[in-house]
Amino acid sequence: MTTKLEPNQQSTSEPKLSKDEVLRYSRHLIMPEVGMDGQLKLKQAKVLLIGTGGLGAPLGLYLAAAGVGRIGLVDFDVVDFTNLQRQVTFATSDVGRSKLAAAKERLANLNPGIQIDTYETKLNSENALDILRPYDIIVDGTDNFPTRYLVNDACILLGKPNVYGSIFRFEGQASVFGVPGGPCYRCLFAEPPPPGLVPSCAEGGVLGVLPGIIGSIQALETIKLILGSGDSLAGRLLLFDALAMRFREVKLRRNPECPVCGDHRTITKLIDYEQFCGIRGEEAPAPAVTVPEIEPRELKARLDRGDNVFILDVREPHEVQICSLNGYLIPLGDIPRRASELDSAREIVVHCRSGKRSAEAVDFLRKAGFRKIWNLKGGILAWSDQVDPSVPKY
């Protein structure tokens, strides 16, 4: 018989473990480092997970498994087919569902005894303080710079620790910000990179298991904070290189000049983080260049007519293995060096995956004197949608 916490029942009013909980957490209880005291601390802890994606998956699973009494989840996204490569809380049958609904169901199945609250909203300067306030520890599992700075600042203003983790391709970082006297995210990186410089997971790719490792590290750090045991990552930045299988760490110090946690604070309320990060509205790459374009259907019509069109593919060799229009391959980075291989007297259509890189190539080549050159609008993805659905999308 499982004791179920009612949603509005404060876990602090029940400072004991039921018989079922004693059995469920026995592997914690028999270790002196956790014991009954530690497990009760976990039961009374309230942790907010911001983001239920790659990092959020192991976070939610391990914190629920550990018996954290109240877990809040913040996300507004819907499960996408491409998420399943790394967001292991979700099943194939969840594609199209709200991530929060799917995550809550998964975590509640794992541990029906905990309270799971969901906030289906984009975190912003208007709602962040209210959403974060009831929780003891905040975990940053987000995927963009504006939200990371927002979470950091909100945590400092509210005096709550912020367990940080981030990933890129096959590298990860982790730390704990916001402990008294410790550094915050701005002490580490005072400013974000300009938009478009660091690609998102969708653009740059990510090793699926990597957020599993970093997210688990974040769960571990959260549990250690709750138990008050071990050495936390506060004051250290953990760096992980998955391919080299190497962990390194560097020292992190609080910056006395930090505008939000330093000795002379100039930021005392939440700001406009999109503006701070140099973008407006949705996180977006730098604006695309404007170049002459050709629609996939029009290219198809011209090829069918027998027109002498030269197709230039500016993707990377490993992408050609996925799908190809049998174009001449010069990866974008090599275009300046290899432009002489192209005949400017011919009509050239340049393509990549989605039309962004090829637009840059067309822009460069036009400035180099090429006049009969067009960008394939929407890239090979649009070709698959509009001309040949047998071409796989990726």
Binding site: F189, E191, P192, P193, V198, C201, G204, L239, V250, K251
Partner: protein, 91 residues
């Protein structure tokens, strides 16, 4: 002083895909100049137009941030490791 500079993933495309570059330098500034001299495209990712190190890239000598040492004037010792740590946000 013979030192190595560890290049983080986001910057490897601009450093000939290398993950580690060895240079002979007496200070951090000199080491980074040698690096950007060898890989010119790296310069705009590390430095802003006014010649200062960008705020979203941190440089460490072994495990210390150069901002808590002598910044680019930080002297180097034989076998030191310079790490370039950029801000990443994936999740």
């Amino acid at each position: 002083m013979s030192v190595k500079i560890l290049i983080p993933t986001p910057l490897r495309p601009y450093a000939g895909k290398e993950d580690c570059v060895k240079v002979d330098a007496r200070s951090v500034g000199e080491a980074l100049d040698l690096l950007t001299g060898r890989y010119a495209e790296l310069r705009k990712h590390l430095y802003s137009d006014d010649g200062r190190l960008r705020n979203f890239v941190n440089v460490y000598v072994n495990d210390e941030d150069i901002r808590s040492l002598q910044k680019e004037k930080t002297p180097l010792h034989e076998g030191d490791t310079i790490s370039i740590i950029p801000s990443i946000a994936g999740g």
